[in-house]
């Protein structure tokens, strides 16, 4: 009898333990994990009060890592289906890469049906999240419309106008020659910047950067030849400072005024103002890229992994809708973190017309808004990252060793053909 009582007590105790476990698990389920990188993590944290008003019982846990580490962690998590967050922030380059596999939820299908909101997003950003099979793997939250930032004081000394700078690529380079001769300042940080934008100019909708839809290599086409020729002209006239972005020399060049222009995403104006070169306030202006080229420099998306906890997916989708379709939150991220909105409904906000003190009270956001509507999405190929590396290598050989452009591009073509179908 005593043994029976003991067993009964043990059974009750075990049942109690199990109930506690289930209860703990149930409570733990009321937390949504969002993996992000700076400054998207800050934007998500700032949105938590809005989320809590809608879902008081569901916490948001932000897992923040540095940019590279975050995307490596997401690659690993997707490959093993372990430690997958409920929502992951992805930079545009990774959206393209991840869209090649089947690791992300197709948001065009029920219960998500993102296509009903398609007209509310900037068209090129939505297209960037759509792969060749029509699968929409992510929702855009911010974009990076391309712009030409230039030092107005340097241009004034060289008697170069904005119109001369932006009329065509040739007039841009010719302006650089005058700037260098009069002021000694470089036109750009690196000749590679010139190549990067010219190979993106004139791409037709749906066409890839390095490969077409049949994986044929495109690097010997005229846009690559012209990009290489212009970059070589820049180097031959010593118009580039030969420094890479995000290095000490790069920021010093901005601070000292030795780099007079930078083709970049609109977000760089915020970085210059906040920490790269705050002392140059009022000396910079923004213009459209030369020769009416419109290109995107970066952009952020939110995605849901197929392997993420199924019970959280509807909440995750609600969170993504809140982050990408809520006008107030999109504008708040724009004002606090220079995250240019991907939501078209924000574009009539008076904030766009406010002058930017760092840019000499220029109403630059209007130009960026205009550019964002004209950018064409570029189709992504799984070998784009490798192709980028190969093209940069061949450009270095042209610039530093005098390699013939046709030979360089033919060598790149040969190397890429071996990989195109891997």
């Amino acid at each position: 009898m005593a043994k029976f009582l003991q067993f009964k007590r043990l059974r009750q105790w075990l049942l109690g333990l199990c109930s506690a476990c289930v209860l703990t698990q149930a409570l733990a389920q009321q937390s949504l994990t969002v993996a992000a990188f700076p400054a998207v993590d800050e934007i998500v944290r700032a949105a938590i009060p809005t989320w809590k008003r809608l879902h008081p019982g569901v916490d948001i846990k932000v897992v923040s890592r540095q940019f590279g580490d975050h995307h490596t962690a997401m690659t690993t998590a997707l490959s093993t289906s372990f430690y997958l967050p409920d929502v992951m922030a992805l930079e545009v380059g990774y959206v393209g890469r991840f869209a090649q596999g089947g690791g992300l939820e197709d948001l065009s299908k029920p219960p998500y049906n993102i296509k009903q909101f398609e007209s509310r997003y900037v068209p090129y950003a939505f297209a960037q999240a759509t792969n060749r099979a029509g699968v929409v793997v992510a929702a855009p939250t911010d974009i990076g419309p391309g712009t030409l930032l230039y030092r107005t004081d340097v241009l004034t000394r060289a008697h170069v106008s904005e119109a001369e700078l932006t009329r065509s690529w040739d007039s841009y380079v010719d302006s650089g020659i005058r700037i260098k001769a009069v002021t000694g300042a470089y036109l750009m940080a690196h000749a590679r910047d010139m190549k990067d934008i010219v190979i993106r100019a004139g791409i037709q909708p749906g066409e890839g950067l390095y490969f077409d839809s049949q994986s044929n290599v495109l690097v010997t086409t005229p846009r690559f030849v012209r990009a290489f020729e212009l970059a070589r002209k820049v180097r031959q006239n010593k118009l580039d400072a030969r420094v890479n972005a995000w290095t000490n020399e790069w920021s010093e060049g901005f601070k000292r005024g030795t780099i007079s222009t930078q083709m970049t995403g609109a977000w760089l104006a915020g970085h210059l103002s906040n920490w790269l070169a705050p002392g140059t306030k009022g000396l910079w202006r923004a213009a459209q890229l030369p020769e009416n080229a419109f290109a995107a420099y970066g952009g952020t998306f939110f995605a849901i992994a197929r392997g993420a906890p199924a019970a959280h997916k509807s909440l995750a989708w609600e969170f993504i809708q809140m982050m990408t379709l809520n006008r107030e939150l999109q504008l708040s991220a724009f004002k606090s973190q220079d995250a240019f909105p991907a939501l078209l409904e924000t574009y009539d906000d008076p904030f766009f017309e406010q002058p930017i003190a760092f840019l000499g009270d220029q109403k630059a956001r209007l130009g960026w808004r205009e550019a964002s509507k004209k950018i064409v999405a570029v189709s992504v190929h799984k070998q784009d990252a490798f192709a980028d590396e190969v093209i940069n290598t061949e450009l270095d050989k042209v610039l530093d060793r005098g390699k013939d452009i046709q030979v360089a591009l033919a060598d790149a073509q040969r190397l890429l053909q071996k990989r195109a179908h891997r």
Binding site: S79, L104, T393, K397
Partner: protein, 311 residues
């Protein structure tokens, strides 16, 4: 006080229980990655699609790696860096250890500590420090060279223009080699100092009485006695040199530098996996690198084996 019987460990199982923590960790963090990498080397895999997306492709990844120009380029870079950074480590460490051993008494530990310091310093800190030292316009190394150039008579020795150490393909490898040499020479000094302390003093005393000078003592007593430690040190340098990753990775921003001049095989296979999404080819390359390391270690062993084992 005795433990309850249920908690007592039988002598039959005790060894297994005691060895199990290590064994478990070794299986999880040692054996499993090895086995998984070998398995991956025969698969084609789009990693972001999950583990179920693997497809068996036989030796296709190995064939691809062996025909890949960049793989061979990375092997050449690795060999160059291993030789240029590795050989001077020993050529400097042996005489330096001998000098410290014979000349320093009270200050010896301090001097050894100073040489050993780079070895225990974080690679990231070292790479950041050297990135600023090697800076083209604002770096101390170019400033020193410029100053040297301006001294009458030294102008021909150093170039007039600032050297672009980390972007010019001709200068990336020497810059990386300098750092690797600086970092590991102290480690080798400690190895050789330990070996020097095992050589009996009477041999030196007898040699001194026979009239041998310091150079002769070094050549005929110290060097032969150090041979086993040289074998150990060279083996470590061969393995470490062929797996070189951290220093060039950080110095070249993780890309391997202009024209991939600083891209070692370890960096390339990392990039193949995480930048170019080709885990299968990356795993195949890692096993090819393992074969190279194994062959060179065997050859090192052969080179240091006693010629006449009967003596």
């Amino acid at each position: 006080m005795t433990l309850p019987k249920a908690l007592q460990l039988s002598p039959k199982w005790a060894p297994y229980v005691f060895v199990s923590p290590f064994l478990l960790l070794f299986l999880v963090f040692g054996m499993f990655p090895l086995g998984f990498s070998l398995y991956l080397a025969f698969q084609s895999w789009e990693p972001t699609s999950g583990l179920s997306a693997m497809r068996f492709v036989g030796f296709e990844n190995y064939a691809f790696a062996l025909q890949d120009e960049w793989f061979w380029k990375s092997l050449k870079n690795t060999g160059w860096l291993a030789v240029v950074s590795g050989v001077p480590q020993h050529l400097v460490a042996i005489p330096l250890a001998y000098f410290i051993h014979s000349s320093f008494k009270r200050l010896r530990n301090g001097v050894v500590g100073a040489y050993f310091m780079p070895y225990i310093t974080s690679t990231v800190a070292i790479a950041i420090l050297f990135s600023s030292l090697f800076s083209t316009d604002f770096g101390l190394i170019n400033l020193g060279l410029r100053t040297l150039h301006e001294i009458p008579g030294f102008g021909w020795l150093v170039p007039a223009e600032a050297i672009d150490w980390l972007n010019d393909p001709d200068h990336i490898k020497p810059a990386i080699s300098m750092i690797v040499f600086w970092r590991y020479v102290g480690f080798n000094v400690v190895l050789y100092l330990a070996a020097l302390q095992t050589i009996p003093k009477d041999i030196y005393e007898a040699a001194t009485m026979d009239g041998a000078g310091r150079l002769q003592q070094f050549w005929y007593i110290t060097l032969p006695s150090l041979k086993p430690m040289i074998f150990f040190g060279v083996t470590l340098s061969v393995i470490g040199g062929l797996q070189l990753f951290e220093e060039p990775f950080i110095l070249t921003g993780g890309r391997g530098g202009s024209d991939q001049s600083g891209m070692t095989t370890a960096i390339y296979l990392y990039r193949m996996a995480f930048d170019f999404n080709d885990f299968g080819a990356a795993s195949a390359m890692s096993w090819l690198l393992f074969i190279v390391v194994a062959v060179l270690t065997y050859l090192t062993n052969r080179a240091f084996r006693p010629r006449d084992s009967s003596v």
